[in-house]
Symmetry: D4
Subunit: 252 residues, 8 copies
């Protein structure tokens, strides 16, 4: 595609409809809105239905408002704002923000008519991991994926996990979320045949060291097919799970 654009441009130069100087200018034109404090991508303008994502942490509500404004001006839907505090959400209420407090996610211009497809299972070890799970779940749903939630199925009571083999067996991707010792990823990875995305959480105390124990545990998983994202990174897991869940068969 990008290659086609260059070729088209060069043909324009050859045909004289574009001067070399204009072509150079175009080759260098910025495919984003420059707000000074942020450069909003406008590359995906025509790809309707793909959500826009704003990482909310570390941005002022004024900056978020500016970025959302730039997106809405181009007719975007499904604008996802992650790591959005309750206080910030309250300040942005006039944007018609749909706010998920547990997941700390805000959605603007939510297109709720999407059909959800495929099968992503999100399992977690304990009740305290649910916020990270929900960040992953809402992200995946916004991207159009069918999500099954299996919460509080930690390995210390392995029968709770084994009692839920059916959805696990049917999954195209599993997101395994766990704090403390993070063993869920390995156990799930040994039970299923599909990719497992492990999300360590900072749930725990003491030698958990803010998620380090679960992170190391998951990176060292002896089960094949397991990969890891950052501690508490529910969004990243949901995004990647969507990518995998939506894959088409390879062409011959």
């Amino acid at each position: 595609m990008y290659r086609d654009e260059i070729l088209e441009l060069l043909r324009g130069v050859k045909e004289g409809t574009v001067t070399p100087e204009e072509a150079l200018h175009d080759l260098k034109r910025e495919p984003f809105d420059d707000l000074g404090y942020a450069k909003v991508d406008v590359h995906r303008e025509l790809r309707q239905g793909v959500p826009e994502v704003i990482f909310g942490a570390g941005k002022t509500t004024k900056q978020i408002r500016g970025i959302v404004g730039s997106m809405k001006a181009r007719g975007r839907e499904d604008i996802l704002i992650t790591r959005l505090s309750k206080e910030a959400a309250a300040e942005l209420v006039d944007l018609d923000l749909e706010y998920h407090e547990l997941a700390r996610i805000g959605i603007v211009s939510h297109n709720t008519s999407k059909e959800l497809t495929g099968s992503i299972v999100i399992a977690c070890g304990g009740t305290s991991d649910i916020p990270v799970c929900e960040e992953a779940a809402i992200t995946a749903e916004l991207f159009g994926n069918k999500v099954t939630r299996l919460y509080d199925v930690g390995v210390a009571g392995i029968h709770r996990l084994l009692s839920n083999m059916d959805p696990l067996m049917d999954a195209r991707v599993v997101i395994a979320v766990a704090g403390m010792e993070g063993a869920l990823a390995s156990v799930v990875g040994g039970l299923v045949d599909c990719p497992v995305i492990a999300v360590p959480t900072s749930v725990g105390y003491g030698s958990n060291f803010h998620g380090l124990s679960a992170l190391l545990s998951m990176l060292n998983s002896c089960a094949s097919g397991v990969s890891v994202v950052n501690i508490d990174n529910g969004f990243g897991a949901g995004y990647l799970a969507s990518m995998i869940n939506k894959m088409e068969s390879a062409k011959d």
Copy 2:
């Protein structure tokens, strides 16, 4: 499937062809060969064409020989032995071992007639990362995947990467292998639309701390769609890439 087996067994009990005691025995029967020092999985007996994997590190050649023997006795093909030192490979030469020194991989009963499908790109930052790449590449090929190698395309000379956009754009999965600062994963993750599996390597020195710098860098990637496996874990990346590459379209 496993569910079906149980159901069938219970029907046998009902019909009297199986006693309750036999059923209990069967429910508990070990789906593996117990060699004492290892329990060789026999679950996948009928799934021809899926390679068997032996993690060679920490096993004596006698143990490896025993496990390979157990597998061959059941007619397995494509037995993959990872982390196999040159010395161990020499001792196992009578097994008709195909040995890849760079990747430290041995293959027994290699079925070379498999058709390779899909598209996995393996990119690395520097020449020193090649052994990890090759571990991933040979694993993926043994599992039946088409692999493209893009070596020495580190971000310090970004034009080397940008000159190879075509295979990257065509990839179904990319494996990004890098030591030192591990920036390759983020840059590749920002360029492609498919899942990126990041493999930190222990290549580097000083504050690299045996791969820690690349590992942390990749876990903190600001690009979406990136997940990480253990330092130097070429096999894990190749295995997961195969899983993703071979996905079928989701059924409606």
Copy 3:
């Protein structure tokens, strides 16, 4: 026992009182109440007198209330809620909660008629370690163990410890709780003949690194018979001490 249940079920199938489908259903039935955010174990329903445990940290009071409700509905006693903040305890006051502020423990439906048996000694290095000690002590007492408290007997004044040799010599298990350099575990371990459970605490400052110094110190204890639980994990120590204290003699 679990094995007996399966056998009984299969006999039922054989005798026709249970259909294979029912048996499969039973084999897969969930031995817990599924509250969505938590799966409450109902396995131990008949084992009266064994406390139920809820890890309070990271749970909302609404969730705790739900779990307690599910337990009480089944007639449980001695429901232990650990890591319960003073604020959360105040919100749950209507549950007839017995709250131990120092230990941050709540107890619902406390059966105070239990006889306390055996002998567990809980020793700590300094006054600041007492909250962790009390978490262990109250847990152990709730499980029916006799507990002796030896507080502020740190190794910097070894005579304070040596003056208390009698209870130490009579203990069946010792819990050694210490922050800072954690040396208490080694010294106690060298004085007694029974198992010593070491609990590092996060008490200290500077290069204590939130309990790391005591943790490493205890793991490296040169005294035999010492094992370690997580930093500040008074509950875990109390639970394990109870297990050991209550052991019966091995049968011949």
Copy 4:
């Protein structure tokens, strides 16, 4: 006992059979042989049947020989030398050393007539963990315990563990040995009702960081009844397991 000795001594002083000076001397007499480089404990002289332990690492064979000599001179049996390299063992062959190469353990004056009692199960995740298991197993056996070995039952193939529930259910203590992500301890801890001693091993690579991942994982186990000893510390686990296995019922 020690208390009785003091009392007896004081009575001797009172009765004039012991002078105060002699009593002071006795109170301060060294309950060990002082070899200069080592102080060999002679306290346990009469407690026949309890093995003596020498930590072999960091000692020259000359020092080990001296310590063994001091012990044998007092008629000790079952002298256990841990962390003894193959080379050192060869140099000590004239001591009638029984050497276990895998476990790196030497035994002098092995009393093989002991009856083994109780039930300790030693389970490990993979073949590479076996040396640590054997250090624990041989230690426990030398102390008179019955040991069951369950090797290569890692959580990535959970059916291998579930197929071995019977010995686990019958155990009085379980030693769970695992490297990599160390999840075995949590899973076992959730399945059994007895104390679980977790031993992290340095088996693995990359972000395993020489056993750190398994260590943190085990310390953060969400299963109750689990405690941890140092990385690769098979001896410590075997010793502690023996203490617990041999416990008598508490007196009323």
Copy 5:
């Protein structure tokens, strides 16, 4: 220079205009104002135009006021106070403090007539890195340097960086500010021919570990010409960039 002063002093001694005792006294005289809690440098008294710097963190407003007073008394201009909280700034408002909230910088006696020279580019990965950038930018401008800001050009959208090649190519020094994986420094370092000062920021979460990931990443940069300052140290980067930007050609 300093050498000349000594020589002059000694000549004075020789000529008898200075006694040896006076000379010794002068050789030892303190080139700073001693306020007790601080020793204010008076060495640079005559070097007009070079800003004075006060590290504000950890100082009380009373101490800051004292130091500023000592400087103003000597006629200094461009007194820069870094790490100055909004609250402290409010307390110091009577000093005619120019306060930059985002950069947490205060300036007293700002000489705004300086001509800005040379070319420093400050680039950052994301909007959240802007405070560190501004600390660097305002510092550099106060020291008389021309600064170009390129914000939100992180490597996950490499086209945003490539679209801004012109200012980068014209820079004499680049300051690359980035949190998360810190890859910006390597990519910029590979694109430009001038020194790159990398500033890791603590922006991020989880395994970012308060800036450690970006720090290690930048230290391990495979691009040549990159060096690193402390996490979030915008001031240090701005100061060093000024030093380099203002270099004269080497004399033959």
Copy 6:
């Protein structure tokens, strides 16, 4: 001394003025007041003039009040309470507490008539290190030592340190307090001939990691005669400096 007490006791037994049972009791009597939460040392009862020390952090004001009460009841003077917050000090005002806010030290029953002897120099790198210095200084003064304060003499302006060589040269002990890179200890250690006690402080930011950088720097000092105490441990440094400063000449 302790030896003499035992001997005297035994002589009493011999002479019949003490029964063996009484002697045993005395040998075991507790040389401290047991307050339950604390065991207050009464060993030093007669050693008038030596301050008593209470580590205030982690103790409630009620506990501190109890310990102070126990001490005052025995006529102690110079009771030092370290790490005492301003709030706690306010609650204890009725104890006639002399409170040093900067040093977070409280003193009860201060005997101000002591003569201060010897010479301890306390030097620090920057203004922000002063609280730790003052903790050391007030401790040392309370123990009867003459203290010279050299504040803000960090190595980045080495002339500030070199201008203060006289007190350094006259010191019997130097306490070098520094955060950030902690280089002060090495530089001072290279200039003086007396013991240097290095105190790393948590002053700094970023890769300072709460004092780790200064701690490691000081431990690795290439200057001889330098030893290190815990991060921010002003009290420990002051106490040790007093011990060294007050040493008498060795007897022949």
Copy 7:
């Protein structure tokens, strides 16, 4: 320049001397020799006099030979191979390799006629740091810089450094190389007015942790104008120092 090439290409398209397809091809042509295992940069072909650099570690001698061959074929001079072991150098002797054993540097086709300009001072703390210094020194000299070596001037004997103020004062850049506590960088940074590049070395033992102490110390330097490269990275320091030393005055 790169911009000019594009413009020229586009003019060619316009004038019909270049087809759009050719232009696209050229825009994408690889500015490097692709050897498979390495992509050798040919971008700098005409910039005679600038050395080529090969990072030797992790490359086989066959690979190094291939890369050198590709460079020589284009007439390059001053090919620098860093981290080249003595053994590898011996295997490459036929390349007319000039080998510096201490610095582990090899040079092929050394153009020794360059004039050395400017002034770089390389100072180190101790004799053991010399190999890292030499790596920096030889690199800088190969790039055409005048280098002054000040070895063994560590801060524990500050007079050694102060006796060498003249070359320091005349330097345009200083490279401060130190292991252990790394204080040299701060002290030098406080004495000079030019940029200081700090190189931590892995020299030391114990809590030096392979250079970590010096690294953290240097990153936390309280002296302005100091930046840091990776542990033992003499090459990086030499390269950056050359960049700075060779700067021209900024144009008005």
Copy 8:
């Protein structure tokens, strides 16, 4: 003293016996022999009896020979070479080197006629710590101190330590050497009234992390009067102990 030299020089200038230029030259003359790779201190020329120290690690035997030569040329005695490997010692045998293999110390021109004074006790936890102890002991003896060795008195058998109270009580300084959990320092610190220098050793395994556990333990010692030197730094401990042991009474 140094001050006196300057004054004398200035008086010479005044009296005309020294020209200003000569004075400047003298003020700047190097108080060391510059061997290029090392600057040998000649400051202490007249202080007969104080040993010279060469840190042997990282120096070639050629460099050591050069430094020893420079010292001997000035008539020095008691030249101490630390961290000298057995191999290096063999190469230097012609220097009449007295070599202590266990301590890895070489001594040249040993003046054995010194009288040893005072009282330093060196205690260690286990046999494996003896090499570090001996490094301290031989250093202290060479500096003229009387040393008592208490080896293998670790806290796991506290009676071994308590049986050696007499030498401890008589010590002017104690050096406590321990690996593993390093608890010896705290226990000794609580028993004695003199300064305790703690030396962590790298003895141990697993979570000992090469001495980190003992180091942190010792830094966090709750006993007063304890300070710490680097891991395995026997020399540093011996040197500092000598400084303290040799202190004279403070003058009034």
